[in-house]
Each structure stands twice: as structure tokens, then as C-alpha cells.
């Protein structure tokens, strides 16, 4: 057998899965219950969306369930193109030929819907929605990030099933079982190290185990010490600590080579943390200046394809920040995740609403969308906050939806009121 251990040691039944009773037990029961509900006719939610980080058994759950209960699995995933027409052809057809024909029960699995991308898979999400509406057999969707705004419509028609990262204490026994099957005598602390570093990702733990243990008879803590960190935050904290406490330029710059995040990401971390770490205003200003210059070098390097300039950017981003410290006393302050990145993903939906709104104004008022945001939206805001009746009229005229109205009112209750007045469907 030469297949990787992740396949070789795949559970045959749901009960063999890591965390099937505790850990993700609830989610698994929820899924089974939903599948069972099909036995007494088409349920209200005709699709389930299983979501959670990689390597915790989402796909495995569906596959194993199908095998255990005799379902034919019709599957589409990211390695297939998933444009509107393909989904219509494959899913649409299958979901129509219900169990009336043929003998087997069918289950449609649309894996990795995070990977349905704009251009290549145009209209894919729309086609899925439509398929769910028409289906007569269960459709299961799997995603890492279910809260992506693109999935908003899907969320409302799906049974939402969340699976979580698995705790170390559940992963270790599982690894141990594999070692037994492979005839390896593994120490608990070695397995614990592997499990911890996988951060709840069972599959990566098994991969690391294979890389470290394959061919050995014994596995000790020393044998796995070399294993690289699988991530993530701890490592970046170390790098930041080095940068913020360095006394020399070279010392600070050294941190860069230890970093496993690329320099653009590291920049975000430093940029976020400067005002928290350097509390003296003059220190903080010097560091922000260094970062502003770093940013300029980074952008010029990219614009002019003059990559040599990166080197200066690195000096300023590390040494420049390190040496900005003059009066700030060294004191342990926890590092913060770059807010800006969080904000950008959190506000993606808002920004989409905003740009839709700008488009609508633009078409009605013969101006650019930038000018719509700058010259019209502020006045609309006043009107929407002050005069629901007037606002409703404008909402109707601009054909605004509830989200767009809420964007203008900044107040959901008021938005509801205006929407009702304007006769906007929810």
C-alpha cells in the first residue's frame, strides 16, 4: 500500500471519525437528522451547508454517511469547472430524476464552494440556488467560510451545520491508533506535539505524522522536534517581539528572515501594532514615518518593478520601527491582529451595498459613482434619517432594496419603516 496515510487510515464508519461522539458530535447528529428527514418527504430546507476549517472531516462525513446508508454520491468540486451551465447539467438533471427511477438513493455533494470563482465559474452560485429550489433529493454544500457575503442567499435556504477544529486530546488517540496499525511505537508527548501543531486540523496532523514516523519503529519527541510549525500566530508574535525590542538594525532585520508570512502581511501586523507598542507620541510618530516610507518603497518597487528597493523597505519596516523607541518603556503589551484586514473582510458586504447604491444613483443622476458617493449620498443620508416619507419616495424612485436603505439610515428599524412605506419586498 503506497497511498498516503490520510487515505489509508480513513474511517470506514462515522463512529470511527475523530470527534464523532464529542467534539463535532452535535454537528454530525444534526446532519444525520436532516438526512433522515428526507425519508418522510421533502423537508423545508432542501440543502445543508456544512462549514468549518479544513481537515476536520466535513467531506468525510458526507462520504461515509453515503456509504453507510447506501446513497449514490454525485459530486462536483473545485477541480471541476462549475459554471452555471455545468451545474445545471450535472446537478439539475440528477436532482430531477428522483428516487422514483432507479433503485439507489441519491445525494448531491457540492464540495468546496469557496472555490467557485467569478470568471471561470460564472453564474455557478446562482445555478446552485436554482437547483436547490427545484431539487427533489438532498443537496449538501461544503465551505470553509460560510459567512462570505457571496453565500448570503445560500445561507437562507440551507440547513446550517457548523463543524469545528478538534481539540488535541481527541487527535492524540487517533494518531496513536494509526501508529499501532503501522507498527510504530509512539510516545505520547511526540504525538501531542504533532497534534498541537496541527491546530485542530486532523488531516495535517496525519500528514505530519507520516512525514515524521514513516519507516520508523519508534517515534520519540526528539524525532518530531524538527517538524516545522504549522503556522500560525505564535510565530508571527515572535517575529513582532523581535522587531519591537531590537536594539540594532540588523537585529530587527533578522526577524524578517524568521517570518513565514510574506512582507506585505508582516507590514500590516507592524502597522497595526505600532501605536500600541510605542506609546510615547514621539516614538510612535517616528515609527509611523518609517512605515509610511516603507509603504512608499514597497509601492514604488512594485510600480517600477525595481525589486531592489524592497531591501530599503525592509530596513525601515524593521530597523526603522525598532529604533523609533526612545522614551517608551519596555512593557509587555499583547499583539493585536491587523484590524484593517478584519475590517476589510467584515465590511465587504457593506462596501458591496455601497457600490450598488452608487450605481443606482449614477444611472439616475448622470454622474460618476465616485461623485454619487461624495456629492449625493451625504444629502440622501440626511433625508433618510429625518423624513421617512420623503425617503420612501426616493427609495422607490431609485429602486433601492432594504440593504441599501439601511446603509443610508444606519438604523435597521428606521430602514424597515421606510422599506414598508416604499413597498420594498423583504
Amino acid at each position: 500500500m503506497s497511498v498516503p496515510w490520510t487515505i489509508k487510515h480513513k474511517p470506514k464508519t462515522i463512529s470511527e471519525m475523530v470527534g464523532s461522539s464529542n467534539g463535532n458530535g452535535k454537528a454530525i447528529q444534526q446532519f444525520i437528522a436532516w438526512m433522515r428527514s428526507w425519508e418522510s418527504g421533502v423537508p423545508k430546507k432542501k440543502a445543508a451547508l456544512i462549514y468549518g476549517p479544513p481537515g476536520i472531516g466535513k467531506t468525510l462525513l458526507v462520504e461515509t454517511f453515503a456509504r453507510e446508508h447506501g446513497y449514490d454520491l454525485i459530486e462536483l468540486n473545485a477541480s471541476d469547472q462549475r459554471s452555471e451551465s455545468i451545474i445545471q447539467r450535472v446537478v439539475g438533471a440528477a436532482s430531477q430524476q428522483s428516487t422514483l427511477f432507479g433503485t439507489g438513493k441519491r445525494l448531491i455533494l457540492l464540495d468546496e464552494i469557496d472555490g467557485i470563482t467569478g470568471k471561470e465559474d460564472a453564474g455557478g452560485l446562482f445555478a446552485i440556488l436554482k437547483a436547490i429550489k427545484d431539487t427533489r433529493i438532498p443537496i449538501v454544500l461544503i465551505a470553509n467560510d460560510a459567512w462570505n457575503p457571496r453565500f448570503a442567499a445560500l445561507r437562507s435556504v440551507c440547513e446550517m451545520i457548523e463543524m469545528k477544529r478538534l481539540p488535541t486530546r481527541l487527535i492524540v488517540p487517533y494518531l496513536k491508533k494509526i501508529c499501532q496499525k503501522e507498527g510504530i511505537e509512539a510516545s505520547d508527548d511526540a504525538l501531542k506535539l504533532i497534534a498541537e501543531r496541527s491546530a485542530g486540523d486532523v488531516r495535517s496532523a496525519i500528514n505530519d505524522l507520516q512525514a515524521a514516523a514513516q519507516g520508523r519503529k519508534k517515534l520519540t519527541k526528539e524525532d518530531v522536534a524538527w517538524l516545522a510549525y504549522r503556522d500560525r500566530q505564535e510565530q508571527i508574535f515572535n517575529v513582532l517581539r523581535l522587531i519591537f525590542t531590537a536594539k540594532t538594525v540588523r537585529g530587527a532585520k533578522m526577524a524578517l528572515s524568521l517570518s513565514d508570512v510574506d512582507y506585505n502581511m508582516l507590514f500590516e501586523w507592524i502597522y497595526e501594532n505600532v501605536p500600541h507598542q510605542l506609546t510615547d507620541l514621539e516614538d510612535m510618530y517616528r515609527a509611523m514615518e518609517a512605515l509610511a516610507k516603507t509603504d512608499l518603497y514597497l509601492k514604488l518597487a512594485k510600480r517600477e518593478q525595481a525589486w531592489e528597493l524592497l531591501s530599503y523597505a525592509f530596513d525601515l519596516m524593521t530597523g526603522g520601527v525598532a529604533l523609533a523607541r526612545e522614551k517608551t518603556k519596555p512593557k509587555w503589551v499583547p499583539f493585536k491582529f491587523p484590524e484593517r484586514i478584519k475590517l476589510m473582510s467584515k465590511t465587504k458586504e457593506v462596501r458591496e451595498v455601497q457600490s450598488r447604491l452608487a450605481q443606482k444613483i449614477k444611472q439616475k443622476c448622470h454622474i460618476s459613482s465616485a461623485s454619487a458617493l461624495r456629492d449625493v449620498v451625504p444629502f440622501l443620508r440626511v433625508i433618510f434619517e429625518e423624513n421617512p416619507e420623503h425617503a420612501a419616495g426616493l427609495a422607490k424612485w431609485l429602486r433601492l432594496d432594504l440593504d441599501e436603505i439601511a446603509f443610508l439610515t444606519q438604523n435597521n428599524k428606521l430602514a424597515q419603516e421606510i422599506a414598508e412605506l416604499a413597498g420594498v419586498k423583504k
Binding site: P275, C365, I367, S368, V376, F379, V382, E386
Partner: protein
Amino acid sequence: MSFEMWTEKYRPKTLDDMLDQEEIVSRLKTFVKTKTMPHCLFAGPPGTGKTTAALCLARDLYGENYTEYFMELNASDERGINVVRERIKNFARTRAIGEVPFKIMVLDEADNMTADAQQALRRTMERYTETCRFILICNYSSKIIEPIQSRTALFRFMPLQEEYCIKWIQMIAEKEGVSLTEEGIRAIIDVCGGDLRKATNTLQAAAAFGGVVDDKAVYTVIGRAHPKEIREMIKLAISGNFVEAREKLRALLVNYGLSGLDVVRQIHSEILRMDIPERVKIELADATGEVDFRISQGADEEVQLSALLAKMAVVGGRM
């Protein structure tokens, strides 16, 4: 109940309706009469009727179905000259059917196009000159490249006369049943200058309060329509509260959808208005200029503006 943006509701429909820019209107009318026209360049400040004039011209030429023969593109919205070219091609390649042998393509904010893009545009204009006339609209005619300027008839839109603006605003107020005081109208004019769009929007927003539109109502609208966050942000920064100032900045850029340049401009104005020593003002104005320059070079808006806030924090601390 029907409400529209009053700017649209009262936008003149025909050249006859346009009561300002008389000279320009009369030149445009001869185009209608002779059913012929050159490529045009409409230049002038915002809100002086450039787009309206183009729309009226089109309606007078083609009648109510004018949208079949008339297309409006905003240069600053379209990604890349290729998109522009493509859309122009699709529009211009078929000949207009009817009395008027050409279509009209309006390109707004043409001064936002790069020189290269304008060169490409020039060639496109040349290619479709048989079937299509171009009206380029811009604020600064000086930013239009020479070869295009020399191929277009220039129409320079002047800022509107105060009396004209007053009359216009009063007319709308009357028709909409808004009671507008003398002080209210003065305030609108003071704040909006000759920008009719802004004046009309201000009136509409002030009317939304429900009561009489007086100067107080007008200033309330203006105060709220201008994100006070900018002033607050500066105050926070100067009082040493950098982290909060940066959060405000983020909100402006992300939630309000302001561009970095918008923020730079407003900061610049605020600084010059602030009650701080002259020397400090200049230092900050200088720094703002530098930030503006860097952003124009492609630097990150937030990072650069943050550095400026940091500077304010230091300057404030020393004050």
C-alpha cells in the same frame, strides 16, 4: 406619493428650458436646426449644466427616443481605455437611422483619463467620426491633450450668476411647497457658490426636516452632509489620541467610501482653518502636501494619512 431627486425632476428637458449659459445654448440650437455638429468639449466647474446641455441637445435632436442614439459613459468609472474603446465601438459602429445621420457619445470626466488613454480615444474618435459625434465633459480643459482640443469645439461653461441660482432655488421651493426664508436662500448660495446641483440637493435635504427652510436648517444639512468625522479625527489626533483617530480614518475610507484624495483635501482645508499657530499650520499643510504627493505615487492611503495623524499627535503634544 412620488419623490425624486429634485436635481433630476427639475433638470431642463430641452434647450429651450435652459435659461442660463445663453451663448452656449444658442450655439447648440444651431446644431439642432442644421442637424449637424462637430465633436465638442464642454468644460467648466461642477454643477454648471454641462451634462444637462448634452442631454437637452440629444432630446432636441432625436426626440423622446433619444436614448437609442445617445450614450453616456463616465471615464472615471470605466476600467481602462480598452473597455471604453470596446463600448464606444459597439455603440458607434451601427449607423443612426432617422433624420440625424450620427449618434452622440458623451464621455464625462474626460479629464480623469491619462494622456495615453486620451491618445487612444483620439484615434477612436477619428475612426467613428462618420457615425458618431463625441461630447467630452470635463472640469479642467487644460487636462485634455492638445490633439483632442484641436479637434473639438470648446464650450466653456461659466459659474452661474448668483441671481440665476437664487431664482432657480426659489422656483423649486415654490413648486415643492417649501417655505424658504431669505436667510435660508442666502445660506444656500453662500455654501454652494455656483454649483446648482449642490444647491438643489441642499434645499431638498433641508426641506426633509419638515419645517421652514432657514439658514439654521441649511447649516444643519451642510454640517451633517460633510462628515464631521474629519474634524473629529483631527481633534483626536491633536489631543494625542492616535489610535482612535486612526479608527476614524478607517471608518471614513471604508464606511463612507471616501477616496484618500477626498480626505486629504478636507484635512488640508481644515488645517488651514484651524486655530493653531501659523508656523504649525504651515508645517501640517506641508506634510499634507507630501501625503497627497505620495498617494498620487501609488502609496497606501491609510498608511500615509496615518503618518500624518501621527505627526498631528506630536505637534499637538508640543503645543
